[in-house]
Symmetry: D3
Subunit: 249 residues, 6 copies
């Protein structure tokens, strides 16, 4: 069930049978010579959209701009500062908690978001902690590549040259979902180098075409489809387990 | 051209021929018994997407959560506080300005966003003003219903019962774009009442089903298509005029 | 009744008969070659002060610095950033609400304040909305030129060359109240040009002497007096209507 | 010279002969059974206004709401939080520095403001310090009761029962300037008690009628006139000394 | 009793017999040619540590970075902005208040902290004041040099050349506690000059070696020991008096 | 070299031979029935202090309060909110960068700090990234238990019951450094359970005595000494490698 294609009354009914919601969250940032700028928010959106076709789970609109300050040296990247990111996640959670949602799962598509999302969770929990009261909600962060079975499948599909940015697995997912937007390029070197992640100036100097450790040429729509199906099943299981979890208070 | 389906190199090329970008911006909030929760961010997204099919204009990802605090009494609404909204717009603009964009047009789909967007513009401009230097960019807010010809068309289509929230025109636009998500309901009264806009508790007490002054039953996909086409043309003209405008400094 | 010339006990008594207060709010900013820097906060102060002579209404001290970042290119302008403005309005309202005021009317003298004041209202209401409780107060913004009868009178007095900044109507109001501070100058051109409002650098380049669309030479103390009297009556009616309005919760 | 009764061009001319400005700053808060709520911002305003009649000094509009959280238990008090206060002072200073003011003197009327004003100064200076550059301006805080000769005069006028809040000296100043607003009451006890200053609830419990250590019955307009004249002379000397001070950089 | 060398259960037991805690607070900043960078946080830490050997008082970890923006021109200085300082003190107090501490005494070692600490107290109290409820805690600031008997002793020990920064008294305290870190230098002039405190650039230009009015050559470990013993006794008395004080509410 | 036991001139000399500094950072929070509240900040302090005895590295004062909101249910815990934590780290880094430090290594002692420290780094880098300039400094986070050889040693020492909070390894480190503060207790169960980390209310309900997965009874001062020596060596190597790393720009 997609929240944004529902009416408020439909969400009201959903809340009678479940208190759980999934928020796809990612980033809009360069993904190398062939990766789409939207890759990191489209991947969790694609997976979440697929999952809700097979199970009664509710998907929020996509939180599409994340913490991508290091990619700003490449045109098209849009980033929030961590402080803004924390404030925005806080407002999303307060809105959803006001409706009675008690389990809020962020399905994440960008490694660079992890620290700021967890910091946001702590900021939210701290309100309750300082007041010595229950928060009334539980928050969970799941990276789509950590969903059950996904890591193993990606390792099979891309035993070398997977890397950590502009990876063939994320590009494959977008190729399956947006076949009209598949791009090609010569990669040089075939597998990109690694390095530390600092400010954008430093990043662009180290990572000339934007990739980190990856060979995106290995991506294909078929591999993308398999990843999406595996991830969608994993998400459904995560949501079920999270929904069943009791909350003290 | 959709930014999120492009590579960074493609955006780099675009910047050689234009310094203008369009950001669809809206809100995720209740829209009465039949309006979709995503209506206010989907309308500018639909229009912008249509416009870029007929002209060389660049569309950013959609800023999909806006200032909707008064609707939080209805399930599914997600709102930013104005302070968060201002911080987020600021980060978007700083990101785009870093790439060399000089004209940033926000195509807005939610009346409740107007004050906070304008406040955000002032917050951004103030940095330059306190430093007595040019800002380096110009910001413009266009509500899609104010684009050339759109208001007249809506008045023809809906001479009575248009209202200001959950209007037949915005619902028509989403009906055309998402025909599988058309909802129906009995409206009572047929045309909803009006009232002041304050906090969510007050709003829900005054506006029982969420509408303000509207009769959404008049919406149809065909009327939606006509509105989208008119608005897309208007947007192209706005972008052209804005792009041509000289900036002092 | 002027709050600042009263004791706390007198305000305590007032609260037994009314829960409404008026805050004159404006800006300290350039007003062309002859307009006083204080024009925008003095106009609502003058009108509010006049109104309380004829009715039992309570006037707060004047909020005299507003959102005037675009005028900083002209000496004497003092501006708050919107974020500061919102924080300050929030503190004023929290202070007054703590005393039991339930209807807080901002009588505004500066068009550039409107967006930030409305954003501040939303920021305040959002606290209650996120907590799903009544706010306990209602906020209202009235521009003095929108008070009943004022627009019509100004149109009669200044059928052409009224403009939107350093207008003959606002200058007339200050001429009536501060006759010793009437200034004169040659205007060139007689009616100033218009243009967009962006950062201070851009504004000063476009509006050489600071005016926007106005011919202040038409102002006179007599016209000012008529405007003040009309506006004061309008304010009294606004306050009465606002005071009578029921608040849900 | 009063800034708000001047045009921007007049301030431009003033800047050619001086880079110094005086900002009256105070608070709007309860002042016991007979003190006016505006006492703390009116006193520095009255003194500054008097001083500029006898010397070529420039007076900014009055910063009329200060840090008065402890008085909120008494109706009519309006307070900023220190964080808001700091942000507002910062914006005032940035505005004035943009025009070329290099010496900004805050003439203060409220003891409770001192810490927050000094914190604001440090916040402003820290921007320059972190950047290892000169600030370009110097800030000075003067309490009006610390101006040359004022403390001695007050001690002569009120050898006992001066106290620290709702003092006969500050009330005398307002009696001279606002003779129509002189209030009387029975004081019980004649000299109010002292105590620590904490939150408003605690303050009101300790200081039943709002006074701290004072016997305001001793105030008279004549004593007020003498205090104002002494303070105005002191202010002129302070401004002259401050203006002459060299700034490194 | 040192909190950081205790277990949570031990603190739980302490709370059954006392609701008071002491926080040593200072700054890490240059202290002239021979003063240690840690002087201002080590002095209150040393004194508090000594005091708890002779009385059942609880000492929190040391708040070791304060408001020292003016010293940033000298290597090794670390400063918080006042806004950060206020936020941090606020979190410390909220944490301790959550455990039931009702009397929180800040034993301060840096004059430059005073304004920001007091502003932080007001920020904390304002939360309660705006909500018209008791705060539930009382906050107290004690500078170690103001503890009973300390000022007199320092005046005896250093009748001239005490000054206000890099004073012989504070250096003596650290010499006693850290005898292996005693430094020597030629002072020129023997007694340093005074001047205003502004941004770091200005400060370094005025105070070439960092001292203000002091002759640190007079310090000795023996004088330091006497100061610590006097201050520790004074602290115990302060804590006892503060603990006994009733809180309304 | 310990910064706080040095003079500013000594730090000035150090900067001529190195641009690297180590900041021990931790948390003050409950550590089960026998762990000291200061454990998480004392461990990196102890290790850093040991390391500087054998190598020319500079150690800053300890950042002793971290992100521990989930432990607030246990007396003695003090926590910053992530937003405060980010602001404070930002000020530390800006201070040190102003002196010319280019490599700032945070030696961390608390897993709960990791996300907020990384978010702080991104917040700092983002300033440079939005401005498209080099940051001028590089930041590095090292958990002491991840230093070379430490994890292996801890696994040898505590093959079972190490857990993740109140671990025998961190308690061993403090036992070695503070032998007079070794505490004992009966643990029930011997090895504590695990669970998710949310707000303090939830945490205390799940983790009755505060431990997570650990059996602290295995700690001994001797094991602590071995861990410290191993970690100190690892830190020296980290500092050397980090110092040698070139920075683009």
């Amino acid at each position: 069930m997609l929240l944004y294609l529902s009416t408020w009354a439909e969400i009201g009914h959903f809340l009678e049978r479940s208190r759980t919601i999934v928020i796809p969250i990612g980033s809009n940032e360069q993904h190398g010579p062939t990766g789409l700028l939207g890759t990191d928010w489209m991947c969790p959106e694609i997976i979440a959209c697929q999952a809700q076709k097979n199970a009664d789970i509710l998907i929020a609109p996509t939180f599409n701009i994340g913490m991508a300050q290091h990619h700003i040296g490449f045109p098209g990247t849009i980033s929030l500062r961590p402080s803004t990111f924390i404030a925005a996640i806080s407002d999303w959670v307060h809105s959803l908690a006001a409706h009675g949602f008690e389990k809020i799962l962020f399905l994440n598509g960008h490694g660079g978001n992890v620290a700021s999302i967890e910091a946001a969770f702590s900021e939210l929990y701290a309100e309750a902690s300082f007041a010595r009261r229950p928060a009334g909600f539980a928050l969970k962060l799941c990276n789509w590549w950590d969903l059950e079975g996904v890591g193993e499948l990606a390792k099979e599909q891309f035993p070398t040259g997977h890397g950590i940015h502009a990876t063939p697995s994320e590009i494959a997912v977008t190729q399956w979902a947006y076949p009209d937007s598949i791009k090609t390029a010569e990669y040089s070197p075939q597998v990109a180098p690694w390095g530390p992640i600092r400010e954008a100036f430093d990043f662009r100097a180290r990572h000339v075409d934007g990739r980190m450790g990856s060979d995106p040429a290995q991506a294909s729509p078929e591999k993308g489809r398999d990843l999406v199906m595996m991830a969608a099943q994993g998400l459904i299981r995560e949501v079920e387990a999270f929904s069943r979890e009791p909350i003290p208070g």
